[in-house]
Every structure is written in C-alpha cells, then in structure tokens.
Assembly symmetry: C3
Homo-oligomer: 278 residues x 3
Amino acid sequence: MYSKEEIRKEIIEAVNKVKETNPMAGSITNTVTINFVANAQLAVGGSAAMVYLPDEGEFLANAGGATYINVGTLMPIYEETLPRTAKALHDAGKPWVLDPVAIGIGELRTKLLSQFKEYKPSVIRGNASEVIALAGLWELDGGSDSSNVRGVDSTDTVTAARNAAIALAKYTGGAVAVSGKTDLITDGETVVYSKGGSHFMERVTGCGCSLGGVAAVYLTASSPFIAALTASNVYNLAGARAESKVNASGSFYVQFIDELYLATAEDIADNPMDIEKA
Amino acid sequence: MYSKEEIRKEIIEAVNKVKETNPMAGSITNTVTINFVANAQLAVGGSAAMVYLPDEGEFLANAGGATYINVGTLMPIYEETLPRTAKALHDAGKPWVLDPVAIGIGELRTKLLSQFKEYKPSVIRGNASEVIALAGLWELDGGSDSSNVRGVDSTDTVTAARNAAIALAKYTGGAVAVSGKTDLITDGETVVYSKGGSHFMERVTGCGCSLGGVAAVYLTASSPFIAALTASNVYNLAGARAESKVNASGSFYVQFIDELYLATAEDIADNPMDIEKA
Amino acid sequence: MYSKEEIRKEIIEAVNKVKETNPMAGSITNTVTINFVANAQLAVGGSAAMVYLPDEGEFLANAGGATYINVGTLMPIYEETLPRTAKALHDAGKPWVLDPVAIGIGELRTKLLSQFKEYKPSVIRGNASEVIALAGLWELDGGSDSSNVRGVDSTDTVTAARNAAIALAKYTGGAVAVSGKTDLITDGETVVYSKGGSHFMERVTGCGCSLGGVAAVYLTASSPFIAALTASNVYNLAGARAESKVNASGSFYVQFIDELYLATAEDIADNPMDIEKA
C-alpha cells in the first residue's frame, strides 16, 4: 500500500515529466467533448491526436505514449477500430485508458466493452454506475447490471462502486478512477479519495471524458494508479479554484481550462486526499 | 388562443420543473455544434446524451423525456438511424424536436426530411427559409422549394414564413419556431413574436441548433408550444443580456451560456413578446 | 514579385470585401476542431457550412465561394466524399484550401492526399513537416517522406520547408502557407514571413485548422497568395494581442476569437512581415 509521501512524490514527478516532454496521447473518443479532451490534454502539457479508422487507431496506439478510448458516440467503423486498437495496445504493452460511457446502451457498445476485458485497460475511468456495470459485464465482484446508468449520468454513489473498482483494478493489474462528488481511485490495494471539484462540473459536458484523456497523458509518465490519481487531483483542484472565480457554467469552462494550465506539480500533489487500504 | 397570462404561467412552470428534475433529452445532431447543444441543455437544467447508431437512437427515444433530431452533418448510418428513431418516438408517443438544417442539400437529407412527415415532430425549429422549404417538401400551405436556403443561412424573413409555420403546426398538432431577428412561435392558433437576441448570434455557430436542443429539454416538461416559446424566450433574453456585456463573438459565447444558466423562470416568462391570432 | 504596398492594398481589399459580403466557405473537416473552424470563419465575417457525404460535398463545392478540406479525422465515407468534392471544385474552377493534417498516418489518408495532386488545391496549409511530406508524396522538390510528422505536430522548422512550399506553389499555381513560430507564405515567386502569434497557439487545439478555414473565407475574395497571407496575418495579430491580455490557454481561446472579430483590414495588412524573392 502506498504512503501519502510516496504518492505525493510520484505525482510531482509525473506532472513535471509531462510538462517537460510534451508526450502524445492519442484518442478515439466521442464527438460531443472531443475538443474539450484535446484542450485539457494540451493544457496539462500533453499533445493530442484523434482518429476513427482501424489502421489509424493501430498507428496511434504504437506512436503514442498512451491512448484514450471513450465509447461515447459510437460509429459503425468502431466495430473494427476499437478491438484492433485495443489489441495493438495490448500486444505492444502500451498503457491505455478506457471510459465505458453509457454502458448498457446499444448492442455494439456492449459487444465492444465485453471484448475489452481481454485487452486489460491500464486505467478505467467512469462514474459509479458505469464502473459497477462494467464489473458486472466482466463478471467480477461488486458488479451489477447496467440498470442504474441513465444515459451518461450516474445514479449510484462513489462508495457504492468501491468493491467493483477494486475488483476491476485487481483483474486488470491497473487502476480504476470513479468520478463523483469525491473521486475514488484504486489500484486494488490502496484506495484514495480525491476531494474538491465543483458543482459546475455537472453543468459542463465532458469533465469526465476529458479527465480520462488527461489520465492518458499522465499514463505516459507514471503508473496507472498515479496517472489516474494525478488526473483526478488536477481536476478537483482546477474545479474548486475555477468555481471560486465564476458564477455560471460558461465562464466555469474557460476558467477550468485556465486552472488546468496553471496548476503546478506541487499544487496537484497537495490536493486534499484520504488514503486507505483496499 | 393563449392569453399572455396563461403563457407566462406555463413558461414559469416549465422552467422550474426542468431545474428541479434535471430531465434527459437525447440528441442526434451535427458535429459542428454538438458541444454547444449539450452545454446549453445543461445550462438550463437538463441532461444531454448524443448517439449515432440506430438501436442507440431507439434507446434514447424511449429513455429520454424528449429527443432532438438535427440533420446538420449527416453520416451514412443516419439513413437507418433517423427513421428508426423518429418511428420509435412516434410509436411511444414521445415528443421530439426536428431541426431541418440546410434542407435541400443532398439526396439523403431530402429523403429523411420527407420521411419525417409521417412521424410528426412535436416542435419544428428552423430559420425562415428552412421552415418555408419544409412546408414545401411536405406539400403544405405557405411552402415553397428550397431555393432560398443558402447552406445553413436564411435569406427569407421570419414574417415570410408565417403561413408555412402555421400550416406545419396545424399538420403536426405541435408547434413551430422560426428563428430570426424576432422569433415567431406558433401552435397553429396562437402566434407569438419573441423579441430580443443579439447580432452576435449570427457570428457564433450553433445558436439555432442549441435552441432546438433546449426546446427538447423544455418539451419534457410542457406542451410543444410552450417548450418552443420558452426556448426562444431564454435565447432572446440571454442574447440581449450577453451582448450588453461583451464586445466580440468569443466572449459573447461564454457570456451567453452564463446567461442561460442564470436566467430565472420569471426572467424568461417576462421576455418581451407580442401575441396574435394565427 | 509582389511589393509590400501591393500586398498591403490587396489584403485590405480582401478583408473588407469579406466583411461586406459575408461569403460562404464550406468545409469538410475534422471533428476535433470543427467548431473552432466555423467560429473563426464567422468571426472574420464569413459564413460556414460543414458536410460529410459525397453529394453534399459536391453541392457545397459549387455553392460556396471557396471550400476547405482538412483530412484530420477521416471517416470511411471520405474515400468517396473527398475525391468527388475535390473534382467538383477543380471542374468548376472553384478555389479550395487543403490541410494535409497528419500526413503519413493510415492508408486512406495517403491515398486521398495522393489523389489531390490532380485537383491542385489553391492553398495548401500545414506545419513544416506536413508541407515537406506532401511535397515528398507528390514527388516535388524539397519533399521528403513523412517520418518527421508526429501525429498532428511538426518536428521541422518553417525554413526547412521553404523549398517544399515553393515547389508545391509552383506546381499548383496557387499558394502555400507553412505555420510555425513565424509563418511562411509563398506563391512560388514571392516569399513572405508573417510574424507574431503566441506560444498559447500550441496549447489550444485547432489554431492551424481554423487558419485553413479562414484562408478559405478570404479565398472567396482574393488570390490564393493574398488569402493565405491574410489568414496568416490575422492569426498572428490576434494571437499576439490575445496573449497580451490573458495568462492561460482557456482564456486565450476566447480572447483569440474576440481579436479575430475585432481586427480591422488595416490592422491585418500592417501585421509585421518580411518579404523576399523565392
């Protein structure tokens, strides 16, 4: 189990390494928030590239330091693109982030998310309902069916997803980040609750998706657990700081990107966290 | 015919119900303004979800309180997705908003818009040229061919579309909102002119599309006529307020979303309107 | 070779003509930055319309004053849409801008960019690595393979692409704009270095893509060389002005659009430039 001091040290290293090396993290992600994902990745110091076609997904998988796959707005070609990209990542030993958005809607989504079990995403990021449903789909502890997923929204609490998150992390050997009022991040052994954020984050589309994209950027420079935690911390920090400066959701988005850009490694490492054994 | 006091009361009820219940309105919409649509829906208190695939469209049709269909950037799969989604909405008696963007461009667009006649959208939202062209395509009074549609822009005035709007509303049994310098909203019996807005709304892409998405949110909580009018009113209010605070189009967008977020039910109900018999 | 005074005069004419006539420039472009492209086009006074389907591309090619084609996030249908649109532009003698984003990634991208040679884009806009790679693909002087393209980023300097840019411009009879710290614009005879911009332009996705879209707007009102130069100048001007007013990338984007909107013809014509013989 990680100590607070180890976590703090590794977060600082990850953030600074990203700022120094401008690592590329490719994405296959939904069209609703694709611009937010790219701008958030750029704001923290990474580089972004998005594609839809199978051979381009494989190319990015091998060219990038890590990859972000979000199943938000599936297109027909994804039936081929996503498994091939996930396989390329797995075969090359490259880390990747899975965002199982809206799990339970549609046949293709279920099929793809089932296939991903084999390719073991390094980080799984979702809201509580999505994490519980993915554990259910993969027949792991803490899972359930997807009946509590309402479109892209969660109807479960983060703590309700604790067992599912731990089971998923143990299965993949990576980490899981459950987004909510307080975020839960675990590698199956340590559980961290990252605090902060803002009520405005539910009023701006894509705070969850772009957190996944930012986790992929940090995944080029750290372990899955530290990447997931660093992304959650910078989101909670930026959210809280932005909220204190604005009074509505349009300004919040702009200020939020600014705070992502301005946050230092120490700021991010010092974001309030509670740590416990899984 | 509605009285001003009835309209005022129903707008207040619709706005407050949305703020209290956070209703989900799914969309199939173009990639240019999809993010604006989602953020506008969230700003007024709704929840958003976007999809492209046929069975996902059917799922959202049944899961959401209302649905928004915008034919802006058609993809090949839409040939299947849009009729199946519209049919699912019609069969389930669920309300939906149609935005016939750029009617007249391309074979698939014409085919889809022709098919929609059967599924009677609860609200039709377009600029004057689009509304006239849709009435023409559906062989209703006031219609004409689409020769005055220039890409996504209108070359007709709102009053020129009055007869077409009334004919469309009478045919569907729903409402029509014609966007322009002053907006015209009708249910075929009452005609309301909603005033305000801003010249900047022509300099920011998606003010029309996102108005349609917001109308879908209000459609979960009111009649088609009140939903279309509430959406038009909040857009005119937010546009006028935002214009008074900025001097260019980038800031206008941000301030506009802020004003959507901040507008109260009473503000929206009290936006300047003229009411007449159809 | 152009004199500075001729350039200045033609830029002023192009900018004012666009502001007066609100010309439409259609686009087929990537989903990451499609909203930025449209809003930038609108900010400078143009009108935007985006499509994906083959017959819609042909329609826009003929309906618009110029067209922007960006191969960023290819979809399968583009195999048909892009050659048909480029052919329609070529056959109608309509000007168009090509943005060979991420040249070298994937089979379809290479195939499409090879096909475009025949249809001679009026303006080619890319970073240094993309311009060098396109000259290489078309077997022109100064070209090389695409090994220095890293996703959407350049690893070459603008001056390294000077010969490739000149060769491409001579081949097409149009102009080439190479984006970088200083931009290089050439028609094969005159070479202009346009200065200014901001380090934030690398931290906001789509500054390159939207420059291409803005070049298409100016292409409706001027020669390829003046269109490419006017777009580069307004971007450098707006970037420098925006940077002086903000401290982070979220605010930069908003301020940048504002500065595009506010820049006068004289401001744009007077942006610092160095001119030399090719």
